[in-house]
Symmetry: C2
Subunit: 341 residues, 2 copies
Amino acid sequence: MPSSNRRVTQQDIARMTGVSQTTVSIVLNERDDAAVRIAPETRERVLQAIRKTGYVADPIARRLADQRNRFLGVFTYEPVFPAGLGDFYHPFLVGIEECAERIGCDLLLFTSAPVVDGRRRIFHQDNRLRLADGCILLGRWLDPDELARLIAEGQPFVSVGRRDDAGGPVPYVGADYPSATAAQVRAAAGLGHTTIAYVGEGAGPESHADRMRGFTAAVAQAGITGVHVRFTDAADVMDQLLERGVTAIFVEEFADGAVLAEEAERRALHVPRDLSFVALGDPTRPASTDLDFTGYRIPRREMGWQAVEVLSSILDGTGGDTQRLLPCEPVAGATLAVARA
Amino acid sequence: MPSSNRRVTQQDIARMTGVSQTTVSIVLNERDDAAVRIAPETRERVLQAIRKTGYVADPIARRLADQRNRFLGVFTYEPVFPAGLGDFYHPFLVGIEECAERIGCDLLLFTSAPVVDGRRRIFHQDNRLRLADGCILLGRWLDPDELARLIAEGQPFVSVGRRDDAGGPVPYVGADYPSATAAQVRAAAGLGHTTIAYVGEGAGPESHADRMRGFTAAVAQAGITGVHVRFTDAADVMDQLLERGVTAIFVEEFADGAVLAEEAERRALHVPRDLSFVALGDPTRPASTDLDFTGYRIPRREMGWQAVEVLSSILDGTGGDTQRLLPCEPVAGATLAVARA
DNA sequence: CCACGTTGCTAATGCGTATTAACGCCGTAA
DNA sequence: TTACGGCGTTAATACGCATTAGCAACGTGG
């Protein structure tokens, strides 16, 4: 029972046992080198003292001597634990935590990063990024300048989600949006749709651009017509789409799809008999709908997991691919049907 | 631009600037003592180098020297990011993160704690708890031995959820289950219920015992009959309750309530006309029901927030109450009605 | 009795930082 | 000229541990 307030140290154990601090350290680490040996009785005496005091090595000092933290940093531009329930990021974190646990690392959440201009910034006066051995970056859009700086400074990191080069290749684990989107386009074409629409930005964050790219390429290859409409107002958008003879709507944002489907039903258009819908990924905002949308699922948990895996290999110096694209799982759903004549 | 893999140190900055490591440290910490001063130009040169390299003090070394690193540890006996479920713990974490951000601390999730006998243990070989300045403990049940040891070792911590003394008072921010439960009992009594049941363990974790305590006391005070039944099988339990003439069922676990209500309807008993239900808190397991349960809400987010607040005050040495009970918000709901004649 | 290996341990050092005591310098007062 | 009090900076040290080099004592073979 430690009487004082101070932590018990190896030095204390050493004094109690009449040996040196070195000996205590050796006993503690169960070193069995031929180089350094401890007599069984001495070892036993030390162990007794350790048991009696309940001594535990101070991890801080241990890491200092080791050069490593075994912390993995997690940086998100949004709060890690979002208050709003949509909770798009949650599955990523599940995967991250699972893998971190497996490789025996703790997670350091950079919750203290200050918010400037409505966004958290990586670099600021009291940059704490280096606190971790390496870190995982999460967010729909990462500032290219900050990425470039990370690369330039050689800070080990991995992005969850594909990123364009930023003064060099960015290590990432992303979702293969182009392939997944193209597959849906082919499916629609196979069901007789000849004019289909992409509703959304189709640019900006890589994840949007990637979907759009897959869409455009597949439309061309299938020899059908693809139109692109930015989402503004449900009624407006629906007007445009119907005017152009669109029979299948591919939505970048699940929530927009829900709103548009509602608009369709308001116009007495049945989904999918009169109008088909394809959702290009999971909801990033809360969306309420009774429809079982056709589309695909982003392998979020797996992405988180593999991001840690890649980071770990970077830290170990183990070579390996630092850019991975994971396939999205198609969801059959009930909103894509044969095109109306 | 640091070419090597090594972390930039104060020594590096010092060499770059032609000053001593001490000077760098002083500049960094913005010490303004009369005792130790740095010329403005020198300070500026050092700051430039710091900015250029993106240097950040190694928290490990800092902590070793300083006994402080602005991490708050978060220890949960379950995974922090639960894979499935309705996520009972999530709101706590939201509160924890919000407060941590406000006081400028990062969160260290102890994901590396090994699982022994199906539970994570705080103390083990490579105890990393002290990496954090202090920590928040989260979980339905915390091992009293481990709590006692934390207290004995003087490790600063705060529990989310009330805990019994463990070789000393445990700092906590809990929910006032006794009062909240008692209020519901009074409400039921006021509606004419004379025989009501507590379904659940009523013991074990403090949160269960507290509910039971409130129930028992309020029942006695209201002069009505209270029966206690452990949940086993829905049909069995319902048999027992009806046999004893129970007209209102208080469930410790929301999910058990959902199952029992279903059983009631199977028997053509209408809720709440024929049988009333009160849920003593939010679902800890996913439960599907259409019923809007009467009961109360656990102030989870607020508990998380205040736990960090208390921890912070402990660390600052600022006195203050280290045991807080927060009121639960009553939920009117639609499952408690006038007792059937 | 010396050379030499083995055994059991310790002194010394480094990890990166914060802190304290002290040092050289310059200007001013004596 | 000497004494002296700011001023700006640094050398030295501590923090708790792991590690390396090395030391003393004790055989054992020649």
